[in-house]
């Protein structure tokens, strides 16, 4: 598929499927959209509760940014699903990460960090879920260090932290029944590090997530 054809296909899917779905079922409208610089590379760090996170982020980005958005997705999980893997990795060019040693050391698998760097050099918006996995609904889990390694490689690229809440109520891990509910969305201010250590970056990011979490109502869910 040529690049132009691919972009056209992406736009069609976004406009005809993703956005109408997000509007009707998740209550996203153009006033909830993120403000993203038009064509500079950017890293989005998003907390992860549900498969719908990807769909929601796609519909919250302006179209121009959405077509140059590359998600980082678990290769070991999504390559197993036939049609979806084609859509995610071939059309939307998601970047696979490998979470087990077998895949990491396989000669056919390319290093994810190198792939992300390449995408950023091409001006992509890279979306990372630093929690690594969806975990329990609406509970934060520890952040993985991959993002700090990425920041150290590209100190000039800002990281925009985004906190989502509520999709764990719509479609949490391990559930098949989808319930249409409106998520809460909090976008932080872009973070930039000059000469920071790995632990400093992780600490800042975790702190940024906590302060975003505090701006949202936590009354929607009774943990029990």
């Amino acid at each position: 598929m040529s690049a132009q054809c691919k972009n056209g296909f992406k736009i069609l899917i976004l406009i005809l499927l993703v956005r109408p779905f997000a509007w009707f079922f998740l209550g996203v409208n153009r006033y909830s959209k993120f403000k993203v610089p038009p064509d500079t590379p950017l890293i989005l760090a998003v907390n992860h509760n549900s498969h719908l996170d990807t769909l929601l982020i796609f519909s919250l980005l302006p179209l121009k940014a959405a077509i140059r958005t590359r998600f980082v997705a678990a290769g070991d999980y999504f390559y197993e699903i036939p049609l979806l893997s084609w859509l995610l990795f071939d059309v939307f060019e998601m970047i696979p990460v490998w979470r087990n040693q077998h895949d990491v050391h396989s000669p056919t698998r390319r290093d994810s960090l190198a792939l992300i760097s390449e995408a950023l050099h091409q001006g992509a918006v890279v979306v990372l879920f630093p929690e690594g996995t969806r975990g329990f609904p609406e509970q934060r889990s520890g952040l993985k260090k991959g993002i700090a390694k990425l920041v150290l490689r590209h100190p000039e690229i800002p990281v925009l932290p985004i906190y989502l809440r509520g999709l764990g109520k719509s479609l949490p891990r391990g559930e098949k029944v989808f319930v249409p509910l409106i998520p809460q969305i909090a976008a932080g201010t872009p973070l930039l590090w000059r000469e920071a250590s790995e632990s400093q970056i992780m600490e800042d990011l975790a702190h940024s997530f906590s302060s975003l979490e505090k701006t949202l109502s936590t009354q929607d869910w009774i943990p029990a």
Binding site: N29, S32, G166, K169, F178, I182, S217, D220, W221, A224
Partner: protein
């Protein structure tokens, strides 16, 4: 055959909106320093909302029922997004959404008795039993009551608005829009009247802990104006006398007020300002239709009794 009221009401609404838009433009010119972006956004949303309503009425019965179904869906979605839910009750939310197509199918078939008893009887029982099956005791009463209130306010009550177009119609018409237009218009006008009366004469706060801006004077002054408007308007839209129109005005004004306060109380308790931001400048669908939630069923029964002479 189309009800001629559709075109008349569309014309009047168009004139009112033009008037509002012109007023904003003039104010902008006269006082350039004032920030009118909020009221501008609100008016923009009014254009869209009125366009959708009139378009649905013009397209006919199915479109109108479809529109009210969507409103009910949006309202339930907003409600369930915000109320505290136990993890174990997640699947019940799905069953609650399923009540919407069933309830509106009953409206479509004009099965009055199943329409009236499906949610309060079968729906609420079903939720109760389904909740028992989860086997979780802690928070049981709270969960049961939040779900039941949600279904009553957002599905049962709102579905009466759809049924309004099906009562009191002549054989030559597909539906009559008088009762619906009257209901929506008078409720909105009543909100404005209460706001203005409150601004002018407001002294005694009526419910300071829930809505600090609402006053007894606002409520009573608004009610008086609404009753007068009603007595003039009702005979022109429905087969009612001015006295009966005035009575409908009392119901809409008083229960419109309480519907508004009920939703405000829920929002206060949940510590949120609006249920969502789907309507720019207004908030969520549930914030927009809050005044209709309590008055819809009462008004439905009143109109059915007055216009058709049958108590339901």
């Amino acid at each position: 055959m189309k009800d001629p009221l559709i075109f008349l009401s569309a014309g009047i609404m168009f004139a009112l909106l033009c008037f509002a838009q012109v007023t904003i433009e003039v104010l902008e010119r006269l006082k350039p320093g004032r920030n009118l972006s909020e009221i501008r956004l609100r008016t923009r949303s009014w254009w869209i909302m009125i366009f959708i309503l009139e378009a649905a009425l013009f397209l006919g019965r199915s479109a109108t029922l479809g529109l009210v179904t969507c409103l009910s869906f949006f309202a339930l979605r907003e409600y369930l997004s915000r109320v505290p839910t136990r993890v174990s009750d997640r699947k019940i939310l799905f069953w609650m959404f399923l009540a919407i197509p069933i309830q509106f199918y009953l409206v479509h078939r004009e099965w009055l008795i199943p329409f009236l008893c499906f949610i309060p009887l079968y729906g609420l029982c079903f939720i109760g039993i389904r909740l028992l099956l989860t086997g979780k005791i802690k928070g049981f009463v709270l969960a049961l009551s939040t779900f039941q209130l949600g279904l009553l306010v957002t599905v049962y009550s709102i579905s009466h608005i759809a049924y309004l177009v099906l009562i009191n119609k002549s054989p030559s018409l597909e539906m009559t829009v008088g009762a619906l237009l009257y209901f929506v218009f008078v409720t909105q006008v009543n909100d404005i009247y209460q706001f203005i009366a409150g601004k002018l004469f407001g002294k005694h706060k009526i419910m300071p802990s829930i809505s600090p801006k609402k006053t007894t004077e606002g409520l009573l002054g608004g009610m008086l104006l609404t009753v007068i408007t009603s007595a003039i308007l009702a005979p022109r839209l429905m087969p009612l006398s001015p006295l009966q129109g005035g009575l409908a005005g009392v119901i809409l004004s008083l229960f419109g007020f309480f519907g508004d306060v009920l939703l405000s109380a829920i929002k206060r308790d949940l510590e949120i300002k609006d249920f969502s931001q789907i309507i720019p400048g207004h908030g969520g669908v549930l914030d927009r239709i809050d005044s209709l939630t309590l008055s819809a069923p009462l008004y439905f029964h009143l109109i059915r009794y007055l216009a058709e002479g049958v108590p339901t």
